[in-house]
Subunit: 339 residues, 4 copies
């Protein structure tokens, strides 16, 4: 059982079926095909608003290309210290934006809090050309520590953004896991709360390789498309990105996969807690951050579980990520195995 990350999982049957079905016919390149042409409508229905969809194949690309239009080369992007863009995307943000600076701040369980954000930003605006002023806020939903922003929390952040004339971006690499937890409408936690654009992740949750930039401000589309091409992220056989995305949202496959992953994480949490471990904070998505003894960690590894230590939260803290294909029955059986 591999809990090292959700991206150790393969792609799901629905996506294999879609790719297979589309594997034998010719179609126009670069998004001119019938499947690609359906994307905007399909996601507009999903989000209950006219949106523009620009698919790419990685979360880093989705995040950085989005930010390239949400912040100037002289501006700053406020994010949590734990944010993927700050910790795991090399110098991507500066590269794509032409120099913009990340302005990391703290907050519980990798979440920004509106009040703290307001205070942080207030100290940074209007300082003239020498300093970097925040022009955009980036939040991750679900966060890198597996927590999930509630609707009201995003709304409050959206209001701080409006107050200081900043854009609001959402890194949704695990947006499906957040939605499976929140059970609200996708609109409530995005554009209705002030989000300008989201990277709508599919790769971790059952796709082979596709994360979609979804623009709630469709005026951004032309420049985003140029930024995508310029950085080598426009696929010639674009339909294979489209077909993955369409299969992913059709019949709520994305929510089914994420719900399964979240449930698997809960099942695993139950097992681990029974073994004497504790969670550093509530597990709301498909990630667990677990405090446990070296003994227990060793026993789990002996039982075939794969997972990473997470030293930034403590020497005895470990991360477990459950994917869409986690075997819940097998997880439950761990109670027996571990005794």
């Amino acid at each position: 059982m591999n809990f090292a990350s959700d991206n150790v999982s393969p792609f799901c049957p629905e996506i294999l079926e879609a790719l297979t079905k589309d594997a034998s016919v010719n179609a126009p390149a670069y998004g001119g095909d019938a499947l690609s042409q359906q994307l905007d409508a399909a996601f507009s229905e999903l989000f209950d608003k006219e949106v523009a969809v620009i698919p790419v194949t990685t979360g880093t690309a989705a995040n950085c290309i989005s930010l390239s239009e949400l912040v100037s080369p002289y501006g700053g992007v406020v994010c949590h210290h734990e944010a993927h863009i700050n910790e795991d995307e090399s110098t991507g943000v500066a590269f794509f934006t032409g120099g913009a600076k990340l302005l990391p701040m703290d907050g519980p369980a990798a979440k920004l809090e509106a009040d703290g954000l307001d205070g942080f930003v207030s100290g940074l605006v209007d300082r003239g050309v020498h300093s970097v002023s925040p022009e955009c806020v980036a939040i991750t939903q679900a966060t890198e520590l597996g927590s999930v922003y509630k609707v009201d929390e995003v709304k409050a952040i959206g209001e701080v953004c409006r107050k200081h004339d900043m854009r609001l971006f959402m890194d949704g690499a695990r947006f499906a896991n957040a939605m499976a937890h929140l059970k609200c409408h996708p609109a409530d936690v995005t554009w209705k709360a002030g989000v300008d654009a989201i990277s709508f992740g599919a790769t971790k949750n059952g796709a082979m390789a596709v994360d979609a930039i979804v623009l709630f401000d469709t005026s951004l589309k032309p420049r985003i498309e140029q930024a995508r091409k310029r950085s080598g992220h426009l696929h010639s056989k674009h339909r294979y990105l489209a077909t993955q995305l369409l299969a992913y949202i059709k019949d709520d496959v994305w929510l089914k996969n994420a719900g399964h992953a979240n449930a698997a994480a809960q099942a695993l949490a139950d097992v681990l807690i029974k073994q004497g471990a504790s969670l550093t904070h509530a597990a709301e998505g498909n990630e667990l951050f677990v405090k446990m003894s070296p003994d227990l960690a060793g026993k789990l590894r002996d039982a075939g579980l794969m997972f990473h230590g997470w030293p930034s939260l403590g020497a005895d803290v470990y991360r477990f990520v459950a994917a869409w294909n986690a075997d819940i029955v097998q997880i439950t059986k761990l109670n027996t195995t571990l005794g």
Copy 2:
């Protein structure tokens, strides 16, 4: 029959099989998996030299990431005016290299000639900090106009590069088509001729989405891997790039596909010439540039053929590209259809 481009084709059965086979198991992310670990060895065997392989999903990414280590932000990349990097990759080269300038020159059928190159470059070197000095030469094999560099031609270019201390890069988006034509060893026309790195294209010739950067100078690997990550081109489910590439070169699928495409182009050329058309220059790969009357063009479109006009070669010139899945029998039947 769609001759608009070779990237209108789907992916080939061997690659579907490979993807399917690999669709149901977990594996380490970011290239830590067993398939990804086989890439260097497989391509080292193919090229008869120790190489480093860094797969990405587009030709633009493969070209621009490669060039980012072959030229400084202050230098120039000599290429043909028709080069894909000059005509079809937006401002990608400047973006990835931090500012390097394309220095386009002419040559017959989109090929650089060693003598012309030497003269061109000699006028540009040693001009001090105000001017852009050429640091790299980029050639396309097969070229954007369907011609193919002979081994001796690449060798001669390689010598000019050594003379002026320039790197030599090969855009191999259609390298398979060139090799199917040349029938030489891949080493002869690459590293043995002085090529430092090649973008080894698979997407156009039967893959879903993968072009590999193959480094003959393996010392470039660490920086190229950083450049790939930084630009969002490192896939988490990296194995799906690896599995495509391994299936592509196994049992010479790449040469079989390209040989078929080249043969289809020849069959189409025969048909068109019989109808009164002529080729602007010899068709050595899978692309035809055809001079014909508006009448004939209309007849072909009525018969269901799709293709583009190519005004840069003349108002009455059209491009036909045959893909790995072109139906040669159907092409031959055109003789009957067209009368």
Copy 3:
């Protein structure tokens, strides 16, 4: 007599006086001083329009910082092949703009012609994300070959820019020389003709080191000021840039200096023609491009003249640039010296 360039000249007495006068008192930094605060008004009067002035110390900085707001990272800047930004500013334009590409074209005596421009641009617009579309046109006044755009010529270019929704930038490194020749109002050949911004050069024509970005579209000011700071071009002792500029335009020093340089060039042309040389094209500013025998070139060098060969115009062509401090009496005496 040094005709190698006009930047071999020192700075002029009026500017020394201004610098000296300002050398002994404290003043706010970064443009908060009284002299800097006068710049906008002084240049608004000069140009008969409300403008914003951002001084820097080199022409490359003035050009590239201006262009950073007139073209996107995905766009192109149309210019003449001979343009300083194309030939003499390294990879500056791509650096400052985040990747924008120069799209050089031809035209007589280094001038773009409106008709040719229209045709050139028409073939480049609306080609989609793969290609670079022209977003800005840059002309040099006076040009790198010493010719001067007439008012109507700039107007016609301005109309082509409006037609294709492009910005118009003027590299005015030798704007004073152009104005001394044209004798029109500075407004006529700039904003009234459609120019959005000019680099108003002073360094070559009597300043120590200052070229001013003058924005006719003042909405560009905030970003240009950020671009200046970000690139290290905001001076702490900003008043010394201001004092140079104010002294330069006060009492028409700029036109007096340029008029002298132009007259010196004419005087030199008379001498050279008498000696059997000919001009490759009319000398309208302070630069001469002279076709002459090696014999005559040798005689001139023996007589102590310094000047450069200009091989791009021919093996027997040489450039002579007269500066604001050229000694016309001594030039005239050459008739005697050379016999």
Copy 4:
């Protein structure tokens, strides 16, 4: 009395004399003149080592151009949170380096400590392509809070750099003030301690506008010269940068000016302490950070003193900077004025 910054001061008589002397003759441009040609030798003597000198006109340019060769686009620059490159140079570092990230850390009085640095860096190296690894350390001498690194402190930092294979850069905007305090040989605290390059500031300490990049690793010179030109920082009338620098170091003018500024700061500290204020930390250069009552602050302002609040150190903390031209007699008289 203006203590807002040392850059409110004008330039000093020795530099006016040098500029004046050089104001009436022609000389080769772009550093080909006799004065510019003396720079390397003059600074090699000053530092007792063969160095390469590349003058620019601002500290931001000197810092960022230097860093562009000391860190890759994928790397990090460790610095103090208070560092000028982190707080006052906009997004300059990312711009010039092509994306490199600042990795700020803490330390007393704006100084990095070797032990803390070693610990900080150890946690950041070898984390793979996803994360930013430190490639360079930048320290400021004297620091932004007026403290000065001792020779042994720089040496210890140099050793940490060697240990982790990082470059060491020194922002010497106030290097003269540090040297006037340390009274050691300039070599001891720079190349002998492991510093690869320094921005040798002159502007704040009596020049009009010149800060020199001094390369102790002369192999960096060609790329640094390209980086300077590319960013618009190569002056055509380069001799005026050279003449300022030569006058600045001749007869120890730089140390005389800095010694005066430091003494003025001490005199002011004595006055303020007598008035009931206290220093937040020892004043070693020409800057004071003063904790005092609003009452005293008001009295000082009434007495004509100009200075800034420094809220990052506390609501009741203020900064006073004494320049080379501070009037020590007048400062001493404050005792009488303030009563």
